[in-house]
Symmetry: C3
């Protein structure tokens, strides 16, 4: 999609260029794939050797030192710079505005300018879509859904009635927003459904992966805070409150009524039980199961979750446990010998007890 | 949706009213949200303080004692009463009966009275739909699917051929019933698919969340017993038999040919291996991995699953394990000293062995 | 679907028939369900007793010995033979070729002979579909998707632009191929999306379950090797490379940029962290969390994953840990006694230290 000079790119990024400002690149590729016409990037110190071997025509890096004689644009955060420069070469493809003749739009909807609605999409009654909202093919909106400007819902997304979605939100294919929370009253071994009459509210700049499910609240709202990023196959229970700027990696589950503080991070396949409060900036490791409240800034691992240092110590100790069992068995046997030895020197010792310990092994 | 007097509500619930029978409420809200025109509920003893502070005009509670001077409807199970009274204020919205002109219905189908089929739904050949069945937009039914009266399939649900669904069943958006079981014969490092020619049978009053997958049987049927409730993103393998009145919380997986006894509960993110038998009323905790049969009434936690008491003891002990390693090291060193001391009093003790233990640390 | 003589079946399988070659069977059923007109199979030695009790008219078995007097077709791998003979009785049902009048096909597509495109399917521009490709109802293909001959995409599958799919591939309902990878650059507590401009490539004979998500690469390709089988609700991150002949059971997650060697097996609900290299033929047990590289042929269990033997030893030891704590406590108390005894015989021993140990319990 065109080409850019290194001078132009450095200017755009506010970076310092080592090399020829008139040099041109026509694409961005990974270190392994890049050729002389490509820009690449060194996002981590341990990629330096790979970067040195790369055939890339120019590099985004935090430090030009290791790359003497090459074209390097020095920026403090090469990965963030990558995000910015990517748009030069891969401008986001917006679907053409307009409503497909194969789409159905209900009565009394309010559609903003340049809205795009794909084929076989169904929009309920009284929906409000902001400017440039794009509903890709087969999206279904229930009645009374409100969506802010510049939001994109990919193919197959289902949005239940009364859901509220902010601006610049992306939801990937086949995700479901606003399905019923899992609430039943038990009586006599059977369960009666509690009608789920609340809704789901997504803040601005939220991004949601594919096959994600976010349940509507029993009463009130299930809330996803602004700028929070949710990966594929994440499950959010009813009445959950996710703060702003959180990150939920793939296959995470957050059970009903739990609150995640601003800036929390849940790594892949982790889970948080219901009715918990997780403090701001908490970090929950991969496959971790959180069963209790966590304070702000906590960093936990394990199932059940513990402070990451305690967990690591216990895991290290667990590897030594089989040997420890042998060692304690030996001590018990030695204790008998030592006690016997002492007994011979003095009087009858606690020999019976020592034996019992050995027998308890 | 209208208003009701407290007398009417108490009568409907068979509850005892403390307060003004002519008092009116116009909605139901949580304790935190309710105002003077709302009914609220005290479903757990630890909500009493919140209830006392609530501005709710009336309360459903198991005991009027803590709420002197307020309007209280006393019922034995306030949460179950809530389920019942919710229907007064939020009568379930049935989609209009009728077949969308944008739906496709195959040949030789038998459609009951007041069936509702939404736009872009596809119904295969020879399907049988009971009275008032609702297929929301974009539902796909394969050939020979049978669905009982009053069942609702939400948008995007896919039902493979020959699936049988009971009465009053709900399936939420984008779930898949009857996809192929995961069965392959290995030969020489590669795998050949075993055709999956069985089906899926869902009992009456089953409820299924969003993005759930239930595989068809290799032969025979994968069965979900009546009144069983399944949350979002649950995976049920081929030939699994789930009993009646079970509860499977979000992201649970049950592997092929396993049987879950009536009334079993699988908490979130738990998993059960294949070919197992789980007894009636078993409880499987969150993130628990069941690798062996369980007797009726078992309550297990952990990965691998164990009796919950054993697991708790082990987890408590594990937290003390790093310290235990130090303690045993000290004992080993002390044993040398003590043995040496004893030795001076008598004869050469088992000093060499004691040293070896210390060295093994 | 017709009937076959035992002689015909034995010939087809290259098996040795014990019994009447003119005997006829009209179906295949499990041991429990089979009747005198059915063929059944003994796939595992522990099914012999059930097989002896089965009413099946004939058996596929590795050994005729236990079934004297019955019709038995002896083959080395009865389960593989089952896969082959199933096609006789259940020939795969291909959808009728042709493009539904309710489907939309974009400009400049290249469609092979006998392609089948179901109602409400959407095919983007410049797509290439091989011979006999079947898109079931509601499949969505983005622009520039290429699909090899004889591939079937079931209802609701969404394929993002530029995805490449091999021949004879099956993808079950509501799966998503090519959604954006989860890549963000963090700057000042917020995150900026890294555009994901790579693609997804699926090899020949790959099979993919329902509600699976496979993300497109940031750059380059996310690759699923030929003949790999992926069960329902599996998540594959961006830039992952899955080798040939791998098996990923339900609810597995593989994080970004990880490589799985040829023939690896991930059991249900297991997870593999990002940027790892898993050797050929590695086996990862159910609910296992792999946080480090694994060598070829590794067999690991646990969270975090360890060699299966080490893990089993540790789990066995963990069950003895609560008792071990008591045993060590007793030793510490005994050590005081013994030390005291020794002290009386000699001089003042390390009594204070022994006490401290006891107090530390």
């Amino acid at each position: 999609v065109g080409s850019w000079t290194l001078g132009e790119i450095a200017a755009r990024l506010g970076g310092r260029l080592h090399g020829d400002p008139r040099g041109r690149v026509t694409g961005i590729r990974s270190l392994a794939e890049a050729g002389p016409d490509d820009l690449s990037f060194v996002s981590r110190p341990d990629h330096r050797d790979e970067a040195a071997r790369s055939r890339a025509g120019a590099l985004l890096a935090a430090d030009a030192g290791p790359f003497a004689g090459r074209n390097v644009i020095v920026v403090p955060n090469p990965y963030a710079a990558l995000a910015e420069v990517m748009d030069l070469f891969h401008p986001p493809a917006s679907p053409e505005p307009g409503i497909s003749p194969q789409a159905l739009v209900g009565e009394d909807c309010d559609l903003g300018v340049d809205v795009s609605i794909g084929p076989f999409a169904v929009v309920g009654r009284r929906c409000v879509l902001g400017a440039r909202v794009a509903l890709r093919p087969r999206v279904v909106l229930g009645d009374d859904v409100r969506i802010g400007a510049d939001t994109v819902l990919h193919a197959g997304v289902v949005v239940y009635p009364r859901t509220v979605i902010g601006e610049r939100v992306t939801v990937h294919a086949n995700s479901v927003l606003g399905s019923d929370g899992f609430g039943y009253a038990e009586a006599g071994g059977s369960r009666r459904k509690i009608p789920q009459v609340g809704d789901v509210v997504l803040g601005d700049d939220v991004e949601i992966g594919a096959c994600v499910t976010i349940d509507r609240a029993t009463f009130g709202s299930t809330v996803i805070g602004a700028r929070t990023k949710i990966d594929n196959q994440v499950q959010i229970g009813h009445n959950v409150q996710i703060g702003e700027d959180c990150v939920l990696v793939a296959q995470v589950g957050v059970a009903g009524s739990t609150r995640l503080g601003r800036g929390s991070i849940c790594a892949g396949q982790s889970g948080v039980s219901g009715h918990l409060t997780i403090g701001e900036g908490a970090r929950i490791g991969a496959a971790t199961a959180v069963l209790q409240d966590l304070p702000a800034g906590a960093f936990v691992l394990g199932a059940p979750a513990q402070d990451h240092r305690d967990w690591k110590k216990q895991q290290a100790a667990l590897r030594r446990l089989p040997d420890l069992l042998h060692r304690v068995g030996r001590i018990e046997r030695t204790a008998i010998t030592a006690a016997n030895g002492a007994a011979r020197g003095t009087r009858r010792p606690a020999r019976g007890r020592a034996r019992r310990h050995g027998g308890g092994q």
